[in-house]
């Protein structure tokens, strides 16, 4: 979707209203799918089954076993709905082909709209159910809440996200807003100006770069107001906004901040809850758009006439702010590309989170168990299940090596995960 918007900018063309709304409808469905998959398949195993459960059970099948086949079926059904809606417009749900400079390749028929509406409505109900499950299983369990609030999973950083004109979270379009550690607005800028605000550092030990706020500067892997490290994704978006644009999501947003001690929330594991707030938001928006008068208009594309040049497109990918920047020749063939991908933004914060979780969980004499290793890994999983999405060059499993040194610098324990 970021690339569609970048090509709009390259060709200096705006989609007609229905084209724009269809993109947003498509994208809302994408959020529903992605957030369901991330929460239930990748995060719920830790919370629903338990962080210290044996690896063989700590997966989606274990979740189904725990919440019951009925709810498991709901999860599968609604993710499938979201995929079907995307396929209706995009040909296929993954790697859809409907995006073109100036709009969409295909209009929505009335028959399709009715179908989308029914599915969207059901997704809203499912969004409510998910929030309730989180409430009943996670929030009702003091140990989990303590874990979320514990210092080991906390970092005071800047936050970034797209917002609409009234500073509400928007996934598809808007201005990029950055808030500081106290939740005050630090910057608000148009996507095309991203280079003034975001820089990327290269470290010799990683293929993935480390974005930071240029106006603050790179100060290394530390948090606080003097460090340009910022965070994106569900938690970043909620923190960087002044609320949600839909009513049920707004209610849940309010509960989120009331429960976790006000804005901004710095607790990494709260990302999972934030994700469910957004699931509701995406489902509500999907439903809203499916009932929009203009949504079935046949005119979904403006044919570009201007000479293509250069353009930036930014959306909120499910895991964070996604920047696409293209420069083309006069035929519109891309000559240069710059991408900053969602999880890439969080790279420095991820490194810090993993380190802090390890330091917080392991004290002198702590025996390193599977459970502890997993709790360290959870600090990572809150952001993204994998790094492959962020580097596009590495396989996606997470090799983790934990070397524990005593105060004198002696190696006392070594534990590894996914390493040879």
């Amino acid at each position: 979707m970021a690339s569609c918007k970048a090509t709009d900018a390259v060709y200096h063309v705006e989609p007609p209203p229905a084209g724009r709304k269809l993109r947003e409808l498509f994208y809302s469905a994408h959020y529903v799918h992605s957030h369901i998959a991330h929460f239930y398949a990748l995060a719920a195993p830790d919370f629903v089954v338990g962080p210290e459960a044996p690896p063989a059970e700590r997966n989606i099948l274990g979740v189904v076993a725990k919440v019951g086949l009925e709810i498991g079926g709901q999860v599968i059904k609604h993710r499938a709905y979201a995929q079907e809606i995307q396929a209706t417009l995009g040909g296929k749900a993954t790697h859809p082909v409907c995006g073109l400079p100036g709009g969409m390749s295909k209009a929505l028929t009335e028959e399709e709209r009715v179908n989308v509406e029914a599915k969207a409505k059901s997704c809203v109900e499912f969004g409510k159910l998910s929030a309730k499950i989180f409430n009943d299983v996670v929030l009702a369990n003091k140990a989990y809440v303590d874990l979320i609030l514990s210092d080991a999973y906390t970092h005071k950083t800047y936050y970034m996200g797209l917002v609409d004109a009234s500073n509400k979270v928007n996934f598809y379009d808007g201005a990029i807003r950055v808030v500081d550690q106290g939740g005050r607005e630090f910057g608000r800028f148009a996507p095309a100006d991203y280079l003034e605000h975001v820089g990327e550092r290269v470290e010799p030990w990683s293929y993935l770069k480390f974005p930071y706020l240029r106006k603050v500067g790179w100060k290394g892997f530390v948090d606080g107001p003097d460090s340009g490290v910022y965070r994106v994704g569900p938690l970043g978006r909620l923190n960087a906004s002044e609320g949600m644009a839909t009513p049920l999501a707004q209610e849940e947003y309010e509960r989120f901040y009331a429960t976790l001690g006000g804005k901004p929330v710095h607790n990494t594991l709260a990302t999972h809850w934030a994700r469910l707030v957004e699931l509701l938001n995406a489902a509500e928006r999907l439903y809203e758009l499916s009932r929009d008068d203009e949504i079935t208009e046949p005119k979904v594309r403006t044919i570009p006439t201007a000479r293509p040049t250069e353009g930036v497109g930014v959306v909120e990918a499910p895991r964070g702010t996604l920047f696409h920047h293209y420069q083309t020749d006069e035929k519109g063939l891309v000559r240069k590309v710059n991408l900053i991908v969602a999880t890439g933004n969080n790279h420095a914060a991820i490194c810090m989170s993993v380190k802090k979780a390890a330091q917080g969980l392991i004290k002198a004499g702590t025996k390193i168990t599977q459970g502890i290793l997993n709790k360290v890994e959870m600090a990572f999983r809150a952001y993204d299940p994998c790094f492959a999405c962020a580097t596009h060059s590495l396989p996606g499993e997470m090799p983790l090596e934990l070397l524990v040194y005593d105060a004198g610098g002696q190696l006392v324990q070594r534990a590894t995960q996914n390493m040879d």
């Binding site: 060709y11 998959a37 398949a41 990748l42 700590r58 997966n59 989606i60 599968i76 059904k77 993710r79 417009l89 995009g90 040909g91 296929k92 749900a93 993954t94 790697h95 409907c98 073109l100 400079p101 390749s105 295909k106 991203y194 280079l195 975001v198 820089g199 990327e200 550092r201 290269v202 470290e203 010799p204 030990w205 990683s206 293929y207 770069k209 790179w218 044919i303 570009p304 920047f323 920047h325 035929k331 063939l333 240069k336 710059n338 900053i340 997993n374 994998c386 492959a388 999405c389 060059s393 590495l394 396989p395 996606g396 499993e397 090799p399 040194y405 590894t416 996914n418 390493m419 040879d420």
Partner: protein, 318 residues
């Protein structure tokens, strides 16, 4: 009957193939009933060392998605090949190199110079580059070797079956899973989860006589809904592409981009596409032909979009 032992792995991939497995939806529970999944990094916890400890041929079927971009992908491909009775190249990246394979227009140095140097957001005055081995106070940090050339799985280890698609259509994955469970796989070396003929055969559009005087790019025209896209001047890879997807993209009003790879008996999908396109050009002198061909602005990117590493030339000369 003993449950099947299944492994799923991803190398240089976008994650879409993993989502395609999730798209089996409720049938994923049937898969879980028929098979024990021993390895699935995206969805389950595991360790490399578990895989290393398995005896050879311990796994019945390994579904491997993603191209081979670095030494880690190669290592895992070799390891899982040794541990699996049947190795399936899952998705177009594993089968043909896929989208990551387009990186074969450059080499390692070209990629690094752009990513870690030239890109406007990069701030790297010291010219730092990722190192395969780097000393830090706590010890040595290592990274996999990043290769010059992206390879297919089949160019790395012997592959028994190819299940193409970017990503493969869920109904085709299900058909293949059923065949696996029933022990009814075709002879090794076959493509599975595909149709016998080309995408054109699955395409509902009306085909008349194909003669084209001008080619257009998708953003330049709103095509008529019923008529063959190629006849309307849109470069559609349907004639050179293996069917099986149900002409999904064409149903979204867009031409086929060739993700299912070349049809049976075609070695080089791009060459085949080139002939198919040339044969419909309506011009019979050199100047006229040139004028039409000029409208096809990026033959390499268009005809080898999903299969540069799998092509006869495999990569661009740099």
């Amino acid at each position: 009957m003993a449950k099947l032992k299944l492994a799923l792995y991803w190398a240089a991939t976008c994650g879409g193939c993993e989502v395609a497995v999730l798209d089996l939806n409720e049938k994923i529970l049937d898969v879980a009933a028929a098979a024990d999944i021993y390895l699935w990094p995206v969805a389950m916890d595991y360790k490399y060392k578990d895989a290393e400890a398995w005896p050879d041929k311990f796994i019945d079927v390994c579904l491997f998605n993603g191209a081979i971009r670095n030494s880690e992908g190669e290592h895992l491909a070799k390891l899982l090949r040794a541990k699996s009775k049947v190795m399936v190249a899952f998705g177009s990246c594993a089968c043909f190199g896929g989208i990551p394979g387009l990186a074969n227009v450059a080499d390692r140095e070209g990629v690094f110079a752009r990513v870690y140097g030239e890109t406007p957001s990069t701030d790297n005055r010291d010219g730092t580059r990722p190192q395969t081995s780097f000393a830090v106070p706590e010890g040595e940090l290592t990274l996999p070797h990043f290769y010059d050339t992206v390879k297919t799985l089949g160019q790395t280890v012997p592959v028994d079956y190819f299940l193409p698609g970017c990503p493969p259509a869920a109904k085709q994955i299900w058909a293949v899973v059923q065949a696996i469970v029933a022990g009814q796989l075709p002879p090794p070396g076959s493509f599975v989860g595909v149709a016998e003929k080309s995408v054109c055969e699955e395409c509902p559009r009306v085909k008349e006589e194909k003669k084209v005087t001008a080619f257009l790019r998708p953003h330049q025209v709103i095509p008529q809904p019923e008529k063959c896209l190629l006849e309307q001047g849109l470069v559609c890879c349907g004639p050179a592409t293996r069917g099986g997807c149900g002409a999904q993209c064409i149903n979204a009003n867009m031409p086929c981009r060739g993700c299912y790879g070349p049809t049976e008996r075609v070695t080089d999908q791009g060459a085949k596409m080139l002939s198919a396109i040339a044969s419909i050009i309506d011009a019979s002198d050199e100047a006229g032909v040139k004028k039409v061909v000029d409208q096809i602005v990026d033959p390499l990117g268009t005809f080898y979009r999903f299969g540069l590493p799998n092509s006869l030339l495999t990569r661009v000369r740099v």
